[in-house]
C-alpha cells in the first residue's frame, strides 16, 4: 500500500528481476503459458466436435481452415503446447511427491520436458501422417 506509514518488517521474497536464470524457472513459466494456450486449443476441439454434430457443410468450413497452412501452424503449435504441458505436468506430480529437486536432476528434466514437447509433437504428426512428404 502506497500510504502505509510503518515499514514492513517481514522478509521479502526475491523479485523476479534479481533472480539468476535457471531452467526450472523457464519451464515453470512455460507451463503457465502453455496452459493458457491449451485453453484456446480446447475451444478448437469442442468447435470441431460441434462441427461434426452440425453436419457436412459446417464441417467443410472447419476442415478448409484447419487444413490450410495457417490452420496447420495453429494445430502444430497446439500439439507442442499439449505435449510440453503433459511432460511438465508429470514432472510436477513427481515434485509433489518430493522427488527430483536436486539441481542437476531438476535441470536435466527441465530440458527433457522442452525436448519432449517439440519432439513429441513431431512424433504425433509423423504418426498421424501429417508431415508433408512422409507417408506412414
Amino acid at each position: 500500500m502506497a500510504n502505509q506509514v510503518e515499514a514492513d518488517k517481514r522478509p521479502l521474497s526475491p523479485h523476479l528481476q534479481v533472480w539468476k536464470f535457471h531452467p526450472t524457472m523457464l519451464t515453470s513459466i512455460m507451463q503457465r503459458i502453455t496452459g493458457v494456450g491449451n485453453a484456446l486449443g480446447v475451444a478448437i476441439v469442442v468447435g470441431w466436435l460441434f462441427a461434426i454434430a452440425s453436419g457436412g457443410d459446417i464441417y467443410r468450413c472447419y476442415d478448409v481452415f484447419f487444413t490450410s497452412i495457417f490452420g496447420k501452424i495453429i494445430l502444430f503449435g497446439f500439439t507442442v503446447s499439449v505435449m510440453y504441458h503433459l511432460a511438465q505436468g508429470v514432472r510436477f506430480l513427481f515434485w509433489d511427491m518430493g522427488k527430483g529437486f536436486t539441481p542437476a536432476v531438476a535441470n536435466f528434466w527441465s530440458y527433457f520436458t522442452i525436448a519432449f514437447g517439440v519432439l513429441g509433437a513431431v512424433g504425433v504428426w509423423f504418426f498421424a501422417g501429417l508431415i508433408p512428404g512422409v507417408a506412414v
Binding site: 466436435l49 461434426i52 504425433v124
Partner: protein, 132 residues
C-alpha cells in the same frame, strides 16, 4: 516484534486463508493424473480417425469414429476432464495476475461460464452424433 508474521494492515483487514486451497490443489492434480492417460489416447485416436483424402472422407471417418460408444465415452471424459482442469488452472492465473477487484471477479465468473458452456457444447455434440 510480535510472534506474528502478519502486517498491521493484514490484522485490520482480518483476511486469512480461504480454507479451501487444499481442495483446489488436490482436484488439479487428480484431474492431471486422469488426463495423463486420456489426452494421449485422444490425440492418437483422433488423428487416426480424421484421416482421409478429402473433406467428405474426413467427415465420414470422424462421424463414424465418434459414433462408436467406446470412443464417445472416452471423448467425453477427455474433453470434460480437460475443461475441469482448465477451469482450475485459469482460476489460479486470474487470481495471481489480476489485481483489480471488479475485473478479477468478472474474469473468474467468465471463466466459470465459459467452462460450463464448453462442457454443454461438447456433451451435446458427442451425444447428437453417438446416439443418433
Amino acid at each position: 516484534m510480535s510472534n506474528s508474521m502478519r502486517t498491521p494492515l493484514g490484522k485490520v483487514r482480518g483476511l486469512g486463508s480461504a480454507r479451501d486451497g487444499a481442495g483446489h490443489f488436490i482436484a488439479q492434480r487428480v484431474s492431471a493424473v486422469a488426463l495423463v492417460f486420456l489426452v494421449p489416447w485422444f490425440l492418437v485416436s483422433l488423428l487416426c480417425a480424421t484421416r482421409g483424402d478429402d473433406t467428405a472422407a474426413r467427415f465420414a471417418n470422424a462421424e463414424a469414429w465418434l459414433s462408436h460408444p467406446f470412443n464417445a465415452i472416452l471423448v467425453l471424459l477427455a474433453v470434460c476432464g480437460t475443461i475441469y482442469h482448465m477451469r482450475l488452472g485459469l482460476q489460479v492465473v486470474i487470481e495471481d495476475y489480476i489485481t483489480g477487484h471488479t475485473m478479477r471477479i468478472a474474469l473468474l465468473i467468465l471463466n466459470t461460464f465459459a467452462s460450463y458452456g464448453l462442457i454443454a457444447a461438447a456433451v451435446f455434440s458427442v451425444l447428437k452424433v453417438a446416439v443418433a
